[in-house]
């Protein structure tokens, strides 16, 4: 199973075990940074192909989140949401590389529960920090509306949200990885192709879903009518 490959450590740094998941994460981060750096190094008013492609990506992300958060807030929180989206989608697609999950040092990060739980924790803290920043102590009022005893359910909801975010991303990606590798084990030729196509679709869909839910939660925390 795919779990075995990235559960075992590759080497130790200062007593910390470094797993394939971590090396892939570092690789993805470096790659994304390098692409962004080279795309924005010599920006021109009339963009070339490379800069144009990157601008298209940023513009479409801004347009998408703008439909949920509104223009002013999107400008403020696009760095968080856009980074999350790009990291998740590249992580999901890294599972489609040849022998990913079976080669030491290459395993899709989002197929590991620790990574998705970390991302969900970022969402959790971002939502509540931004809520408190925007509304001050009034933020806590919405836990007690419309009735005081609603606080129990609303607190449970706040805990369930990041848990389900983490589990959804992890379950989809690792499930898809497992299915693909099982089919590959049975019939290595042609048969896994449909599952790779599904993997392309699910990778995009899960990245969209994760960031959309994050932006909806942020909107709920900082918005007026809640």
């Amino acid at each position: 199973m795919a779990d075995e490959a990235h559960a075992s450590g590759l080497f130790n740094v200062l007593g910390l075990e470094v797993t394939s998941t971590m090396t892939t994460m570092v690789g993805i981060t470096v790659a994304l940074c390098a692409v962004s750096y080279f795309a924005s190094r010599r920006m021109k008013a009339v963009p070339g192909r490379f800069q144009g492609a990157m601008e298209l990506a940023v513009e479409s992300l801004r347009g998408y989140f703008g439909s949920i958060l509104g223009d002013a807030n999107t400008r403020r929180y696009l760095p968080l949401l856009g980074t999350m989206f790009l990291f998740i989608i590249v992580s999901n697609y890294s599972g489609l590389l040849p022998m990913a999950g079976h080669t030491p040092g290459l395993a899709p990060p989002t197929a590991s529960l620790s990574v998705t739980a970390g991302l969900a924790a970022i969402t959790f803290f971002a939502v509540h920090t931004l809520g408190i920043k925007h509304k001050g102590t009034h933020y806590f009022k919405h836990f007690f509306t419309p009735y005081f005893f609603m606080v129990i359910f609303l607190l449970i909801e706040e805990i369930v949200r990041p848990v389900s975010l983490a589990l959804r991303l992890f379950g989809n990606i690792s499930g898809e990885e497992t299915v693909a590798s099982q089919i590959f084990g049975m019939i290595p030729l042609i048969a896994p192709l449909p599952f790779y196509v599904l993997g392309l679709l699910f990778g995009l869909l899960q990245a969209i879903v994760f960031t959309t839910l994050t932006s909806i939660y942020i909107n709920g925390a900082i918005g007026e009518g809640h």
């Binding site: 439909s67 389900s164 959804r168 499930g175 879903v209 959309t212």
Partner: protein, 72 residues
């Protein structure tokens, strides 16, 4: 015997969300057919609701994995 429990955990948990997702998708398509200009909004709402239903199946998958870990 335990393997039957693992299989049932994932099989039963796909059942309800499968029906729910089918209903949601069919209603969304009806909506798009009736009002093609609202397709974008319907699409994003549909994806969110499908994702929330999907979560239930994923819980089942998680339980199946946990059970499998207990056995093996």
């Amino acid at each position: 015997m335990e393997y039957i429990a693992v299989a049932l955990a994932i099989a039963l948990s796909t059942f309800g969300p499968g029906i729910g997702q089918g209903i949601a998708a069919s209603k969304a398509m009806e909506g798009i057919a009736r009002q093609p200009e609202a397709a974008g909004k319907i699409q994003s709402a549909l994806i969110i609701s499908l994702a929330l239903m999907e979560a239930l199946t994923i819980y089942g998958l998680l339980i199946a994995f946990m059970l499998l870990g207990q056995i093996g």
